[in-house]
């Protein structure tokens, strides 16, 4: 899994990002100010940096200006939501921007998106005997290919990207069907049932009572 460095001075927020990224399986390290960030980057390279702008000693913009990250993609995480700050951050080389407060799904999606852009080679995701070839849109169970509709595959992809995180039916509709789809929440249930059956994922796709579903791995 990708290695991510979280640079954020608020311990609560730093921990929050860490815990959410841990759910999906990213390896994370924490830095609480500019100096620690510099030290941590010298220690070990990271695949992605999540950077707060207002941090002690050396602020985020300065770190970007000093080209500290040398090609490592950077997502800014900050309470500042003014347009000039966003533009400044992006001009200085940041890849994306997350404004506090944020939702876990958004954080994961942006991290995923940036990493996909940098490392286009997609991996194969495996759950028990089920292998999911995300790049090829192909799924095999015990070596046998299973036919999935496009919608089913998209739903599966959303679940994998947000694994260990419960998603409400509305959220799933949003992510897998799109904003403009006016479907019933039941549609999700039907597709989930099909996925469970086809891929033998009854033990992994959990129903969260009165909320939605979670892929647990």
């Amino acid at each position: 899994m990708a290695k991510i460095l979280i640079i954020e001075d608020e311990k609560a927020i730093n921990d929050l990002i860490l815990m959410n990224l841990n759910l999906v399986g990213y390896e994370c390290r924490q830095a609480f100010d500019g100096k620690e960030a510099v030290a941590a980057l010298k220690d070990e390279k990271a695949d992605l940096v999540l950077l707060d702008i207002m941090i002690p000693y050396i602020d985020g913009f300065t770190l970007l200006e000093q080209n500290l990250f040398q090609g490592i993609p950077v997502i800014l995480v900050t309470a500042r939501d003014s347009m000039t700050d966003k533009v400044k951050g992006l001009k200085l080389g940041a890849d994306d921007y997350i404004v506090k407060p944020f939702e876990a799904v958004e954080l994961l999606a942006r991290v995923e998106a940036v990493l996909r852009r940098v490392k286009p080679a997609r991996k194969v995701f495996s759950i028990d005997d089920t292998l999911i070839y995300l790049g090829e849109h192909m799924v095999t169970v015990n070596g046998k290919q299973v036919e999935l509709t496009n919608r089913e595959f998209e739903l599966l992809e959303v679940l994998i990207n947000n694994r260990n995180l419960a998603l409400s039916r509305d959220k799933l509709l949003d992510l897998a069907w799109g904003h403009d789809y006016f479907g019933d929440a039941r549609t999700v249930d039907v597709h989930i049932t099909k996925l469970r059956k086809k891929l033998h994922l009854e033990n992994h796709i959990k129903t969260i009572y009165k909320f939605g579903y979670r892929l647990e791995v």
């Binding site: 608020e10 609560a12 815990m19 959410n20 207002m54 002690p56 506090k100 407060p101 979670r214």
Partner: protein, 514 residues
């Protein structure tokens, strides 16, 4: 239809006025139809134009009336003189006519009745006088005997018993004549008429009028030009004021007028500038206040975002994530901390708003007791950080609001404790140096010079992460300065990095002095 005609008429008259005054734009003139039956027009005229027009009109009116009266008087006077001289001349000629008739009567009795005799008498005279512009005529019992004169009115020759002479002037064609008729003495059946050409009087009047029109025109032009220059100069300050006022109205508050005059307009200019000064100052203050408020709101929003992010994030985590017991405990603890911070923030904010609207009631407070209360409240913090507190009291009482002063001291001591490291000493002194002073000194990390000016700003923290660890939200000094302000006290902060900070509250207002 009627209305339309009216409007058309008025538009026409406006156009005339426009041309007369050289108005620049159509916009100077406009029509407003207010009622269905009545078109009301408004004409916008500049001040100088009004003075210009009215002065010119009044001058022309008075000048022309005067001249006309003068011309008419002089004409009448000349006419009268002409008539008088004519009448006199008529008398002279009449007497020579009478003499001639008398001599003819002596020679030939009844000559006064004889037509031929009479003609023989009058003709030489008439021929003689015609060269002088005088014509003669003679009537016998209303019947014309001889005349070389223009047409004569019958009325003129009918002379009553008592009348001596009939005098009249009459215009015939291009000429004006004076007629004087009278009966010949002793021959009352004969009427002698004297006619004189007095056209030159009219010619004189025409000439005078012509000269007058020319002079009038020249005077008007000269007056107009002089008046224009004069008015333009006199009213130029009004123009300046006008331009500057509209500039100020459009937001250029630094504009001023420059009128170097000692009259009312100069005074107006000075007053105007004074007004502009005060407006500029007020606007500046308003802007600053608005900026301060915006800053406060921005800072508040920023301060709230971190705990809110934590609360939203961790609650979402607890709800959705597949987590173990340890992670859940961690999330719950972070949740609690964030909520705690929001509580602290709202409490301090409430304090601050409360302080902004409050007027304090001053009482005499025992300083000793105040310091004791302070030490009691701060004890847990001191024990936790292993700090020592040292109080020196040299004044007995101080005037102020006990709760507020305590809150002020707590905030300052908390700041001092945050800056100090283990086993440091915090000294609190109350003493008098002209006025009562409370001083809090620590030997902690100190504040850089450039930071001292900023620390009063709400939400400003010298060391954010450090202060957070001890539960600061950055409002302490705002509260302190507000309380000091309410007590009429001055806050003085001296600090040296690495050597510590010294905060003095100097109660220099009389309400706190004892």
């Amino acid at each position: 239809m009627n209305l339309k005609r009216k409007i058309r008429k008025e538009v026409l008259s406006h156009k005339c006025l426009q041309i007369m005054l050289g108005c620049r734009a159509k916009s100077d003139i406009w029509l407003v139809c207010r009622h269905r039956e009545r078109a009301v027009w408004r004409f916008s005229m500049k001040f100088w134009q009004k003075i210009f027009l009215s002065t010119l009109l009044i001058f022309i009116l008075i000048f022309d009336t005067g001249v006309l009266v003068l011309v008419s008087y002089s004409y009448n006077f000349s006419l009268q003189r002409e008539i008088d001289s004519g009448v006199r001349e008529q008398g002279v000629i009449l007497s020579s006519v009478y003499n001639s008739i008398s001599s003819a009567e002596k020679i030939f009795n009844g000559a006064s009745q004889n037509r031929e005799r009479l003609i023989a008498v009058i003709e030489p005279l008439a021929e003689y006088y015609i060269n002088q512009g005088v014509f003669l005529a003679i009537y016998c019992k209303d019947a014309l005997i001889y005349s070389n004169a223009p047409e004569i009115d019958q009325e003129l020759i009918s002379i009553g018993e008592n009348d001596v002479k009939n005098v009249a002037t009459r215009r015939i064609g291009d000429y004006k004549y004076l007629f004087a008729a009278s009966r010949v003495q002793e021959y009352p059946h004969l009427t002698f008429v004297y006619v004189r050409d007095i056209s030159q009087i009219d010619a004189y009047r025409t000439n005078i009028s012509r000269v007058f029109i020319a002079v009038n025109g020249v005077v008007c032009v000269v007056l107009g030009i002089t008046l224009y220059i004069l008015l333009k100069r006199l009213t130029s300050p009004i123009n300046k004021l006008n331009i500057t006022t509209s500039e100020i109205a459009n937001g250029a508050y630094d504009k001023r007028v420059n009128i170097k005059r000692k009259d009312e307009l100069g005074e107006l200019g000075e007053t105007f500038n004074a007004m502009a000064d005060s407006i500029e100052e007020n606007i500046r203050l308003l802007k600053k206040e608005a900026e301060d408020r915006q800053q406060l709101i921005d800072n508040l929003a920023h301060e709230m975002k971190t705990p809110l992010t934590a609360i939203l994030g961790y609650s979402e985590y607890l709800q959705k994530a597949m987590s173990n017991e340890e992670d859940r405990m961690k999330a719950a603890s972070h949740l609690h901390d964030a909520a705690d911070r929001l509580k602290l923030l709202s409490g301090k904010l409430l304090d601050l708003t409360y302080l902004r609207n409050e007027k304090i009631e001053c009482k005499e407070i025992k300083v000793e007791a105040l310091f004791l209360a302070l030490s009691n409240i701060m004890k847990p913090t001191f024990i936790e950080k292993k700090l020592k507190i040292d109080t020196i009291v040299k004044i007995e009482t101080i005037s102020g609001d006990e709760a507020l002063l305590l809150s002020l001291l707590i905030n300052l001591v908390e700041n001092a404790a945050r800056a100090s490291s283990e086993s440091d000493i915090i000294t609190i002194r109350a003493y008098k140096e002209n006025t009562p002073i409370i001083e809090i000194r620590d030997t902690g990390c100190g504040i850089k010079k450039e930071e001292i000016t900023k620390i009063m700003n709400p939400f400003y923290c010298v060391d954010k992460s450090r202060s957070r660890n001890f539960g600061g939200v950055g409002l302490g000094l705002s509260i302190v300065s507000q309380i000091a302000y309410l007590h009429g006290a001055e806050l003085k902060i001296d600090s040296e990095p690495n050597y510590g900070t010294n905060v003095k509250i100097i109660f220099n207002n009389s309400i706190a002095t004892k």
